[in-house]
Amino acid sequence: MITAELIQHVAGSLYERALKGIPADTHRALQAALGHESSGTGRRTLMMMLDSADAAEREGALVCTDVGIPVYSVKVGTRARLEGPLRAAIAQGYEALVRRIDPPILKMVTHPLTHERGHTGRDIPIVSFDMVDGDDGLEIVCAPKAMGSGRWEELKTFVYPTLEQIESYVLEVVARAGSQPCPPIVVGVGIGGSFDHAARLAKQQVLRPLGQAHPEPAIAAMEQRLLGAVNALGFGPMGLGGQAGAMGVHVDYAGSHGFMPVAVALNCWINRRTGARIDADGHVEWTG
């Protein structure tokens, strides 16, 4: 039995952990980038990034003041037994964390029509659900989305695009963001499906662990050549110049129609994402 109290605790902890450190794969990717970076400014910037992430973890400090809007993705096993609500428990866990987190966090949730700011709002936290056939547990991923990278994400609907058009569009979006999304970034690309599904695919690809290639060789090759192209643009760490413009480009696709949306999602260098799996007996495994 998975209780509402446990879900609240996990939802709050995931958000807090996302704000006070960076994922282990991201730390490794920044260190690897430091080894390849030939720009002096780029190397100094990467070293400061690693220092900042380490200090946040050690001191329980925030890595960035922009704590973003809280976004959770939940996978529910069809055999999971929940005691009490799920969506409400996630929202309560988030709200309780906002009240207790030390240091306290700034108000970033903004009413889209009045620009009034707070910690809560309509549909906040943003929670999406998927079902997993046969599973008896629950998986929750928290990926708070802030302005630095959120501002530059894009979706465009093509009609029967060529591969060249798709790849050029990805580069165009990254070039438009240029120095601003706090590179080295992670780029997620969703091709096809419907308007909403392409965006969802792109987001899921941003959350894919770094260094994990797509299982289809043709897509994996596309990811590699796009990563090379993004880095060749030269924006470098913090957009001050250098080779380390991106830590990964992750692509996925879905069956579509003659109209084919292409979505490009971005994460900044702190690459916020934490995850947990809750087993049927209430055991929690922290996955990131």
Partner: protein, 229 residues
Amino acid sequence: MTPGATPVAGVPAVPAGATPLRLPLSAPDVRALVVGDTVALSGEITISIGLPTHRRMAEHAAAGRPLPVDLRGGAFFHLSAYLDEADGAALPRALYMNPSTSTRYNEWMPTLVRGLGLRLVGGKGGLDAASAQALREAGCAYLSFLGGGCPLLSRAIEAVVASHWTEYISQFRLTTLRVRDLPATVAIDAHGRSLYADLHDAAAQRLPQVLQELRARREAAPRFGAPPT
């Protein structure tokens, strides 16, 4: 993480090779700054990331009305701070700070740079060509702070000197801090050279070649529909 590679908590982190700068800077001090220089600032800085704050500052500057804090010769940065008023003291404590995207304020920056007589501005991501032109005319430079550098930048905070327009939320207020060894990189200098414009132009120039290499690699790549590994 290498033990000892990171500074001890509470000890200001000055990046190796950083030039220490004591604020306020004179006009020749600012003209001596070169794009790519790493600097460590000590002295008073004024910060805000509020759009309403910028609009209001620009209105003051345009009308020649004084701001609650005199920024002539001063430093104004797009840094976002949490001000803690919990202990009821006359001035809040700044718990932490970090930069925000400066291009959001492009509309107001030329007016602020020219009208307020600023010597330093900054944040992250740079400013547009009109702002860079204003920087050159006014003898002002733009500094880039590390986005996600909250723990490092916050160590430099010594005290809140003043906080105005307190009707706004914390990060929108016009707040003056005293800092010690605040690390930054010169990204647009007072001669009008902008790292951002240079990189943007270089990327645009490189793009045809990058697209051509993509095409070559695409042609050599495995075909779609090949079985998963």
